[in-house]
């Protein structure tokens, strides 16, 4: 089977999935299997393609279809960068497909199985096409399809207002983005006239005001999808509203589309970037990362929490890319490569652990019927496997050593620090600031996921539903196990990943070969002379020994162990007394109150003076961007439209007057002509 035919094959598989789902819409069970097995095969195919391209480093090209009338043909090119994103997508989508089969069975009404199956395959098809498109039009088609399919999936449960609303919000935002992309691409193509990426994004764009404008348009257009603050507002709404398998795909797969675009244009695609570009990306990334994790920390809805953490991780990747772009601008391909590598690595890792976490959350939601952390708790006893996997995911996303999150964040730090020696003054302040913010981010992420895991799974159940939860079936657990395995593997052998990514970075215009980092089975080493290196698996034996020692100490010394109820200050300790998620986050919310702008209300019901029979406490975290930017804008537009209603007030005389005025104006203008 030749490489050229792999992508068409994969897309065809997805298409078959759509068709078969449509045919079998009356038998949900069969429909599930067919649709998602098709999607699984499609993902495997695109994985094979991506892998072979990454292995050989040679791009694969081909033509998909041509619209003869408009004289437009849509071809594809899978170069290492595309390949990397294809692989990332497949790593997530393959287990997701399996999960979906089991999940949809009891997560959505059977009548909609076919719909979800179709939209799902369309979505994957379009995302793969986004990564593979070799020209503007093909890209835009795929991009639009992606948005539409996603919106459709978010609106799966369209009877509920939130999902309708968030689907629409998503549609609007992504259209704003698409508009910017269209303008950007065509403005860029204006000079050459060709719409092929090879000509547009080959780094041939000549510097100037126009190029700056184009980059801003791209930053907005792709930033929307990447969940970049302040364009992120759709993300925390849309991701939770969708079924969990879709949420996982959106968080782990779709924001990558935005990041992909930014790498394409940022890393030499528009020629050597201006220094400000990289700085802008870095700063926007830092803001996204910090705000994302802060809001995640303040969140008590499990899936919203994960969505906000998606914004955080997108931000981390952006920081890396930003640092890379700054390096590129300063003429240090090594640093640029480091930044790109770090960012791409983090993208893959994020796909792995965010997928894992969303799937776990999906299992929890499916078995308890609630997403509110306050109503969960104690699940570790009822769903031990899910709990274990979720804990691993949490540790990974918190950037703890020996897991993949740590590896990529380590590289991001390296990227930020490498820029250091080679940069001028302003950069030297921006980069360490970025480092500090990254450190803050990962520390907050640790706090956030202690909360996410411990308050969901540990202690006593805080609701009936939680108390009666039951473990997810194997069909849901196996994919999670796979992703968990990916988290461990990617964490233990960063060297191998970096070696692959070095090739990807080298293939980018403007970076070229000789990235300043070496990777191998032994691990990663950055900079010459050795600036820093990382080989986690050296630590594995030490860790095992130490753990063994600890276990031995605990085991040998104590003769017998006793079980006793938790000390409740003398009283009976009930689940109500437990620390809640809100309480857990309270100190940090207080510390960062200037960002959260929380509104709280405390109401006390006093039976007798000084004897409160009950105290109610509500705390709401403000949404500044919606409140200060988007809602006023929307209101203004609608108000303006409402005022324009007068044009069509129903009076024929007015209508005739329009014609008269137009006529008079034109005649007057004509009379003025020589």
């Amino acid at each position: 089977m030749s490489e050229e035919s792999l992508l068409p094959l994969g897309l065809a598989l997805h298409a078959t999935g759509v068709a078969l789902a449509l045919v079998l819409r009356r038998q949900p069970a069969a429909c599930r299997w067919v649709a998602f097995v098709a999607s699984l095969c499609g993902s495997l195919t695109s994985f094979a393609l991506g892998a072979s391209v990454l292995a050989s480093g040679r791009p694969v090209r081909g033509v998909l279809f041509a619209n003869t009338a408009a004289g437009l043909s849509v071809g594809y090119t899978v170069d290492p960068l595309s390949a990397w994103f294809l692989v990332t997508l497949a790593v997530l989508a393959a287990p997701l497909a399996l999960y979906s089969v089991g999940y949809l069975a009891h997560a959505i009404p059977p009548g909609r199985t076919a719909f979800v199956g179709m939209a799902w395959n369309v979505l994957l098809l379009s995302v793969e096409m986004v990564f593979a498109a070799d020209g503007v039009l093909g890209f835009l088609v795929a991009w639009e399809l992606m948005s539409l399919a996603t919106a459709a999936l978010v609106a799966t449960d369209h009877e509920s207002r939130p999902s309708r609303r968030s689907a629409y919000l998503f549609l609007v935002m992504s259209h704003l983005g698409t508009g910017c992309l269209v303008a950007g691409f065509f403005l860029l193509a204006q000079a050459g006239g060709s719409l092929a990426f090879a000509d547009l994004l080959g780094g041939s764009a000549s510097p100037g005001a126009l190029r700056g404008l184009v980059f801003v348009l791209f930053l907005v257009g792709f930033g929307v999808k990447a969940g970049m603050v302040p364009l992120h507002i759709w993300l925390p709404e849309a991701h939770p509203a969708a079924p969990s398998n879709v949420s996982a795909l959106m968080s782990g797969g779709l924001i990558n589309a935005g990041l992909y675009g930014l790498v394409r244009v940022g890393a030499g695609g528009l020629g050597r970037p201006d220094p400000h570009w990289g700085m802008a990306v870095l700063l926007l990334g830092s803001v996204s990362a910090v705000l994302g994790v802060l809001y995640a920390l303040g969140e008590t809805d499990l899936k919203r929490l994960l969505a906000f953490s998606t914004i955080e991780n997108g931000g981390i990747a952006l920081m890396a890319f930003g640092a890379g772009m700054m390096g590129l601008a300063a003429g240090h391909p090594g640093t640029a490569a480091l930044g790109v590598v770090a960012g791409l690595y983090h993208v893959l890792n994020h796909a792995a652990f965010k997928g894992l976490l969303f799937l776990g959350a999906g299992g929890v939601v499916a078995s308890t019927g609630t997403r509110r952390i306050e109503e969960l708790g104690g699940l570790v006893h009822r769903m031990p496997r899910t709990a274990g996997l979720f804990l691993l995911g949490s540790a990974a996303i918190a950037g703890l050593p020996l897991l993949n999150g740590f590896a990529s964040e380590w590289l991001v730090f390296q990227a930020l620090l490498r820029g250091f020696f080679s940069a001028e003054r302003l950069t030297r302040i921006v980069l360490p600031l970025g480092g500090a913010l990254l450190a803050l981010t990962s520390a907050l992420a640790a706090a956030c996921f202690v909360k996410a895991f411990a308050l969901t799974f540990l202690a006593r159940p805080r609701s009936r539903a939680a108390a009666e939860a039951r473990e997810s079936p194997a069909l849901l657990l196996v994919p999670q196990a796979f992703l968990a395995l990916a988290c461990v593997g990617l964490g233990l052998f960063p060297g191998l990943v970096v070696r692959v990514l070095g090739g990807v970075a080298a293939a980018l215009p403007g970076i070229g070969p000789k990235p300043a980092l070496a990777g191998g089975l032994a691990g990663v080493s950055v900079g010459v002379p050795a600036f820093d290196q990382l080989s986690p698996f050296v630590l594995v034996p030490a860790a095992l020994v130490a753990l063994g020692l600890a276990a031995a100490i605990g085991f040998m010394t104590a003769r017998e162990r006793r079980r006793a109820p938790t000390w409740g200050c003398g009283g009976e300790l009930t689940a109500e007394a437990e620390y809640t998620a809100t309480a857990f986050a309270k100190p940090l919310v207080t510390v960062f109150r200037d960002i959260y702008r929380p509104t709280r209300e405390v109401s006390t019901v006093e039976t007798a003076p000084y004897f409160a029979s009950e105290v109610r406490y509500r705390s709401q975290i403000g949404a500044p961007f919606e409140r200060l930017v988007y809602e006023p804008a929307a209101r203004a537009v609608l108000a303006a439209a409402g005022r324009l209603r007068i044009i069509q007030a129903g009076s024929l005389h007015a209508y005739l007057a329009y014609v008269l005025v137009l006529g008079v104006m034109l005649l007057w203008w004509l009379g003025g002509l020589p």
């Binding site: 950037g399 360490p432 520390a443 202690v450 691990g523 600890a550 109820p565």
Partner: protein, 315 residues
Amino acid sequence: MTTNPLSVALFAAAQAMGFLLLAPLLRGLIKKMKAAFQLRQGPRFSQPYSDLRKLLRKEPVRSTTASWVFVAGPRVYFASAVVATTLVPAVLASAPLERAGGILLLVGLLALGRFALATAALDTGSPFGGMGASREMTVGALAEPALILALFTAGLSAGTLNLGELVRRTAERGTSIHPSDLLAAAALFIVLLAEAGRVPVDNPATHLELTMIHEAMVLEYSGADLALVEWASAVKELLFMTLLAGLFLPVGVATSVTPEALAISSLALLAKIFGLALLVVLVESTNAKLRFFRVPELMAVALGLGFLALAMRFF
């Protein structure tokens, strides 16, 4: 330095053992000196050892609510601390496992320990555990950036983030007291106070629920579990002091494995740590514990110091 796996393993084991054995002594030392400051007799130096022995004898009582997480927590915490000791150069100007990684890995390991313990603390459903975990993570979240910035200052001025390499280079270069080093050291010291749960951040001696952080977190632990936690905390404290000493005044560090070099550097290390301990005691006995919500301000100071250090060094 050496790369032969066996010798590396031995080296690592030796250093870890060293830390494990000496850490309680440091605790004892500090207690004693504090007592001396307060004109009290105070416990013996070896008191912490006896405490550990006692705890190890006792049977651990575990909550009926708790799960395996509760058991795993202290062990991971302990392990992470022990592994961390193999990443910092102590007597020799090289860390046993420095190949594994540098500053960032060290910070990561400490974070891992904190993560494990905080998670486990929430397992019993005791409000104190929750409170402690929440506060520990808060302080940690603020201390970590400061720590990283302080370490970066040292690392970047030496041009490497690998602790062994770092100490070697500073040792070759000799101690140059650049103002930024002082600032960074100060930041690191504040972080040390926070990480070791010292006044003014926390008070290791108190058991008054509303003020305590670390103690609240481990309130439900007993017996060997508690012993592991305490021991690991002590190791962490010693670790931080060694780090401070190694990074900012690398006087007499052994760059070669000769008996006299080792002897000198061990003595030097002991002296430095004694000095740091004295400093800690001074701070502890001259300051009152801060209200919890004032702690962030202290951490902000540390962060500011770290950033300033970096800026001064490179701007």
